[in-house]
């Protein structure tokens, strides 16, 4: 059992601030995913926790003691690298045993741990092979095995699947989820740029954004359960980043606040509404109205748009609509049969799926719904 806490952690390289004011708690047994666009410092944050980079200021606590100055090996963490970083001249067995031998562990126990890890990772028959005689997926499993045998309290994964092909990626993703379940109370921290990995693996997503120090914002944009970030993004950045394809943003003005509803007039004249918790906005205040492509309803409602592009994905069709008064296209998922380029189509933006953001990008709070059960619970 070990809780990881970061308090006011900053990371600077010279004058360049990479991570700004990180406050974060990772509970024992949690699967925490760091995600964000490239350059947001997610790998750096992982390396700070691993001890491979120094923390510029702030405190990192693992298991109740501050470990800022402890070397990586003393932190009870194990790391799996993106490029596997196996020792190329050693066999699979040696790769897993080498660190333990260095800790002066009795040979019998080393052997037992390595055999157990090899068994659970299906590496039994490969123990005498050198890494160069293994496939990418097998090397990745050896790298995970090398982490498992150390019996760490925290696993750190740095984009572990990005060198694998698509089919193997999905398989290994399931393996890692299973590993997390089997190991019980062990926490895992996982860095990825792949949303699907983040949404499927995480109990907790930490979404980081780049270039925040200059604006005085903390690097962490939002922390929460994947569905919380999906249904209740706290700001424009989170709303735009989580979900694929990303949320539609339409410019508009507030008309009137009701106790649990905000009425909005989009630029171009369309009047829409959003269900919100006690919205506080002045009439005519500028805002951004957001709705996800999968929530746009086509073929009904009083919105009108011209079809400018169609993407047929098989399971669904993505429709790009040009709406008067808006610069951005409205993207809708799920086309209607017989739809053609140039058609004018009716659409509706349901009030219970709408998001509203102030001019500064902050979201107005939405009511909880049945969809986001893990959050409400």
């Amino acid at each position: 059992m070990s809780r990881i806490q970061l308090r006011n952690v900053h990371k600077r390289y010279g004058d360049t601030a990479v991570l700004h004011d990180i406050n974060l708690t990772i509970e024992p047994g949690e699967f925490c995913v760091f995600i964000g666009p490239s350059g947001c410092g997610k790998s750096t944050l992982l390396r700070l926790i691993a001890g491979l980079e120094e923390i510029s200021s702030g405190e990192l606590e693992i298991d109740g003691s501050v470990v800022n100055d402890l070397p990586p090996a003393k932190r009870n963490v194990a790391m799996v690298f993106q490029s596997y970083a196996l020792y190329p001249h050693m066999s699979v067995y040696e790769n897993m045993a080498f660190g333990l031998r260095h800790m002066k562990m009795p040979a019998a126990e080393i052997d037992q741990r390595v055999q157990a890890a090899a068994k659970s990772l299906h590496l039994d028959g490969l123990l005498e092979r050198k890494p160069r005689a293994l496939s990418g997926g097998q090397r990745q499993r050896v790298a995970i095995g090398r982490a498992i045998v150390r019996n760490p309290k925290v696993f750190l994964f740095d984009e572990p699947l990005s060198n694998l092909d698509a089919a193997l990626r999905i398989k290994t993703r399931v393996e890692i989820a299973r590993l997390h379940r089997d190991l019980g109370s062990v926490s895992m921290i996982y860095v990825t740029h792949d949303q699907v990995e983040a949404m499927t693996l995480a109990n907790k997503i930490v979404l980081l954004r780049p270039d925040t120090a200059a604006k005085g914002l903390p690097s962490v944009a939002q922390v929460g359960h994947p569905l919380e970030l999906y249904h209740h993004p706290r700001n424009l950045f989170v709303a735009g980043f989580i979900g694929s394809p990303s949320m539609n943003f339409l410019k508009g003005q507030a008309i009137a606040c009701e106790p649990s509803r905000l009425r909005v007039k989009l630029h171009g004249g369309l009047e829409v509404a959003a269900n919100l918790i006690a919205p506080q906005m002045h009439p005519n205040e500028e805002l951004t109205f957001g709705v996800r492509p999968e929530h746009v309803v086509l073929g009904q409602g009083n919105g009108r748009g011209v079809v400018t592009h169609l993407e047929h994905l098989g399971e669904t069709t993505q429709v790009y609509l040009q709406i008067p008064g808006q610069d951005a296209m409205l993207l809708a998922k799920g086309g209607l049969t017989g739809m053609k380029l140039g058609d004018t189509v009716a659409f509706d933006l349901p009030a219970d799926q709408a998001h509203v953001f102030r001019a500064d990008g902050e979201a107005l709070p939405r009511p909880a719904s049945a969809d986001d059960w893990p959050v409400a619970a």
Binding site: A50, G51, L52, P71, P72, A73, K74, V77, A78, M79, F81, Q82, S83, Y84, A85, L86, Y87, P88, H89, F98, G99, H102, M103, K130, R132, G136, R139, R146, R150, N163
Partner: protein, 276 residues
């Protein structure tokens, strides 16, 4: 590799020409070393009545055996020290970033630019100061000074190309610095180590000027100096047979070493990737 017709046609004739040019002196030396008396002055390669008298005389009349041992001692010593020292130096210069690293590397490089003659007098002072004159230690020291800049540079280049993740994985495993260098990095650098080790060995084995200057007594000489001092029965006779016998003896260990280790160089270069 794409091979054109012209390349295929020319490959064997050219290869044979190169082999003949490079092997001929050795063959001629070998054939001459087996001749005696007036046969020495006939230029044929084939020896009618081969004899090993020249070889025997080398070991009987001079302390050639002792000289050989001296050469082996100095050359292996130089290889050992220079690889050990330059491996450690390569770690510092290739993987640790510190202020003045570039300047230090340049200094090392420029140190290797001085011709041996230019450092001879300075080296003599150094050898004298350390009371190493007329001992093998003097040769160890001076050969080391000459080979180190080269070996350091080669190993730094290789060391800095090793993947950073392997070093970080070792940190996560809690390995100490020397374990990292000698158990992880050294095996990965085997090909480079073998190549530079061979070159250092050859340089020390063939070294003449320091050996001539810093040793005076016959039992401290190394082979190159001993060969130059091989004498005939009278001062009017050039002892061609003995000279050639000595040359053959000196060359053989080098040929054997290169043939043995080249396997390792070729095999090692293809191994050691991190991902594939």
């Amino acid at each position: 590799m794409r091979t054109s017709r012209g390349f295929q046609l020319m490959y064997w004739p050219l290869a044979i020409a190169i082999v003949i040019v490079s092997v001929f002196p050795l063959v001629y030396a070998f054939s001459t070393s087996l001749k005696q008396g007036t046969a020495l002055f006939s230029p044929t390669l084939w020896v009618d009545s081969p004899t090993i008298a020249n070889y025997l005389m080398l070991f009987k009349q001079q302390s050639f055996g002792r000289n050989l041992l001296n050469s082996v001692f100095v050359a292996t010593g130089v290889v050992g020290f220079s690889l050990g020292l330059s491996l450690l130096a390569a770690w510092a210069l290739g993987r640790v970033s510190f202020r003045g690293r570039g300047a230090l590397l340049l200094t090392i490089l420029s140190a290797s630019m001085f011709p041996q003659v230019a450092v001879l007098s300075g080296m003599y002072e150094l050898v004298n100061m350390l009371h190493l004159y007329d001992s093998l230690g003097a040769l160890l020291l001076s050969d080391l000074v000459i080979t180190l800049p080269f070996t350091v540079w080669v190993l730094v280049t290789f060391m800095s190309q090793l993947p950073k993740e392997v070093e970080e994985a070792a940190m996560m495993d809690g390995l100490g610095l020397f374990t990292l260098i000698f158990r992880i990095f050294m095996p990965l650098m085997w090909p480079a180590m073998v190549a530079t080790g061979l070159l250092a060995f050859i340089a020390a084995w063939n070294e003449f000027m320091f050996a001539l200057t810093f040793t005076i007594s016959p039992e401290m000489r190394t082979v190159p100096v001993a060969i130059s001092l091989v004498s005939g029965n009278s001062s009017y006779e050039v002892p061609w047979g003995s000279l050639m016998a000595a040359s053959v003896i000196v060359t053989m260990p080098l040929v054997a070493l290169v043939i043995y280790f080249q396997r390792h160089i070729v095999a090692g270069l293809t191994a050691g990737s991190v991902k594939g």
